[in-house]
Symmetry: C2
Subunit: 415 residues, 2 copies
DNA sequence: GGTATTAAATCTAGGAACTAGATTTATTAA
DNA sequence: TTAATAAATCTAGTTCCTAGATTTAATACC
């Protein structure tokens, strides 16, 4: 077979058209040539040429029984092409401090399988971390009945700043380096996968942008708040990164009056309610019936909804604090919406009310909306999957699903 | 003449090549075809074709006496093409609260003329503002002996947030709307110029990025500080804008402990030294020889360099405050460098020392560098010019310098 | 001054990708 | 069976590019 020698320029044209046609088909029903002509503005000859290319590369296939689909009647039946969502899979991993959870999805983001494992303890070694991570991903793939070669990209979220090269290095915080012992390099070397690593709050923001509260917005902030707070900041559609991946780190809260730390909602709710229980304030509070160690954020917020005065006090304090945090972020960044996300978020409607009440003290109108994320503790995995799908979409032209992935290997970039 | 009907795709190729060749020539000596072949990777035929196009459109011309230039000896003499920096001009305007200053430059950013005018007072009407602005620009053009039709774009910096459409609207702050009474629309309607408006701190950041302390950096912040503070924030090469152009507004400083307002260095230096003079602290300070109203930032900083204790006290307070501001910004944004800019910046070396001393209290290493801008009060004009040149570079393919600008009109985008 | 050397320009042929429009084909409707 | 229809396929022609042969305008050397 003769080597094709299309020039860089003509290849660019073809690639742009491949992309346009494939993106048109990605999330839609099977389409006809005419559909593609209408939506891309290309001519029929080009459209079919491109579809032939895409078929050869395994992204789409021609649907046989054309008559079934459209409701038309006359004329020569159209050829129909369908995107193949199972042509490859992606893996999104939430690799937290205590456990790793991997989600395998098809190219449309439909979950095929999940798997989670715990680390032996918060002080686990880097070797254990990488090992457990690998096993978790492989287990999820097994559960999905997908061989590892079908994986197009693995995206992993970690609770640490991650620079544009996928690394967490040169920081003064050994915890951070422990959280990301060159995960991208490991996955690439051991398994041959393209691997991308990013900060968990950044991936949370991706989840919101994809199918959550950030949909359609160019400017919003996702506050991932559990034990600590991290922010995923989107400005003009771009995720802020910072010089070393540290954008959205919250140490600056130490400087905010009435805040003083980056403690998250889960921690504050637990600490403050347990403190309160130890004092003799609100002696009749039902929260006192729980073991002090058993009082967590959800218990407090539920109690607050039932007007438990102790819980209401705690909610009041947390809300007042978060109003200041939100105020500072919104003031500096001029953001349209702030999403409260993370495991405790789903029960923190009472906190949201306090924030909304206090916010006008700190920000000029128009005020940012305060929205509660629907993702619960799945948010980082969902964001990782979305980032992975985004990566695949961006790199379709480099990927040949039939002859095997091209350009696999260390692919640690994050944007 | 027959209408050329090159397809969208082939036109894209040609445009990319036009751009590549022109950008290669923009800041360089006249180049030969072979130079262009080497630097663009195109073939000779293409290169000369593109140069012919560029010549026809007025961007470049062929240099006659080829032998003069290079130091070569043998072989057929190369054709040489030179960029024409005077094929068009751009105007950068600093339209502040008290006065407007316009700078006319050629396409390489070399200043051809400047002109400045004052407004009648800080409370001038929008009509006056637009009128003075127009006259200032026209006067600068006259001084440069350039007819208004040769202007390719006018960029204006204002002390107000400006959204992506060039507008300042819907804010609660009437001062801001007064500062930008749809300047872009006015310049476009009255004079037919492409007009871009942006926030002054953002343009200051552009100046630093172009030829100042931000050169080569993807992450830095420019603090434009005179009477008030505004920040131009660059992350990953992008200027932060915010939903309504308010990114970099500093009201959040109200929430920072030990700061409490967005007052700038000029104001703090004046207020605090005048206050101190009114008390009986440091009775021997030479600053007391000045009329209290005559004490300004520069006087204070100069006195501090001479160890005047009163001035040293003021510098200490300002530095401590700015260390917190810098700490908050650097902590949230993970920025590599913070540039202190604006009129008082050039004399504030003593403040920089205090900031550097205090900063480790607030930020984890690696610490951002603190750098003092060299631009003085020219910074906004310089940034405006740079933004204008950037715009021209981006839009070369739409501009035909010979047959007149195409697509002129309201062009209020900012990015 | 004539000839070799050299570096660049110009010319010629050919390819990839696209558009446009005529022709053919596979259906449904009458 | 025939007409109408909608889409596919085929044919020609465009632009822009590359590759390589040929020509040209210099310098260098004898």
């Amino acid at each position: 077979m003769v080597e094709r020698t299309s020039s860089a320029s003509t290849r660019q044209i073809r690639e742009a058209n491949l992309r346009a046609v494939l993106h048109r088909m990605w999330d839609s029903e099977p389409v006809t040539g005419t559909d593609l002509i209408d939506s891309t503005g290309l001519t029929r000859a080009t459209v079919h040429g491109v579809c032939e290319d895409l078929t050869r590369r395994g992204w789409i296939h021609e649907v046989e029984n054309q008559r079934e689909h459209g409701g038309y009647r006359m004329g020569r039946p159209a050829r129909r092409y369908a995107f193949q969502p199972l042509a490859g899979v992606v893996v999104g991993v939430d690799c937290g401090q205590h456990r790793a959870r991997a989600t395998v999805t098809d190219l449309r983001g439909r979950t095929l399988a999940r798997h989670g494992s715990s680390f032996s303890g918060p002080e686990h070694t880097p070797e254990e971390r990488l090992d457990v991570l690998s096993r978790t991903i492989l287990a999820a793939l097994t559960a999905a009945s997908v061989p590892p070669e079908r994986v197009l990209v693995v995206v992993t979220g970690v609770p640490a700043p991650v620079d544009a090269g996928g690394r967490t290095a040169g920081s003064v915080n050994p915890f951070w380096e422990q959280m990301n012992p060159d995960i991208a390099g490991h996955l690439s070397r051991e398994h041959g996968w393209r691997a991308i690593v990013d900060n968990d709050a950044n991936l949370a923001a991706e989840a919101e942008r994809w199918q959550g509260a950030g949909r359609g917005l160019d400017n919003f902030v996702t506050l991932l708040t559990g034990e600590r707070i991290g922010a995923g900041i989107v400005d003009d559609g771009n995720l802020l990164r910072g010089a070393r991946g540290g954008a959205g780190e919250m140490r600056f809260l130490d400087l905010i009056e009435g805040v003083g730390s980056a403690h998250g909602i889960a921690r504050l709710a637990r600490d403050w309610s347990q403190q309160a229980v130890r004092t003799d304030a609100h002696p009749e509070s039902p929260l006192r019936d729980l073991a002090p160690e058993g009082i967590d954020a959800e218990a407090v917020f539920t109690a607050a909804e039932a007007d438990d005065p102790l819980a209401v006090d705690v909610v009041e304090r947390i809300g007042a604090r978060f109003a200041r945090i939100v105020g500072a972020l919104a003031g500096l960044l001029d953001t349209e919406r702030i999403v409260l996300a993370g495991a405790p978020a789903r029960s923190c409607a009472p906190i949201r009310r306090v924030i909304e009440r206090d916010l006008p003290q700190y920000v000029h109108p128009p005020l940012p909306e305060i929205v509660i994320s629907d993702f619960g503790d799945e948010i980082v995995s969902v964001g990782a999957v979305w980032r992975a799908l985004d990566h695949v979409r961006e790199h379709v032209v480099e990927i040949d699903l039939v002859t095997g992935r091209q350009g696999a290997g260390v692919e640690a970039e994050v944007g």
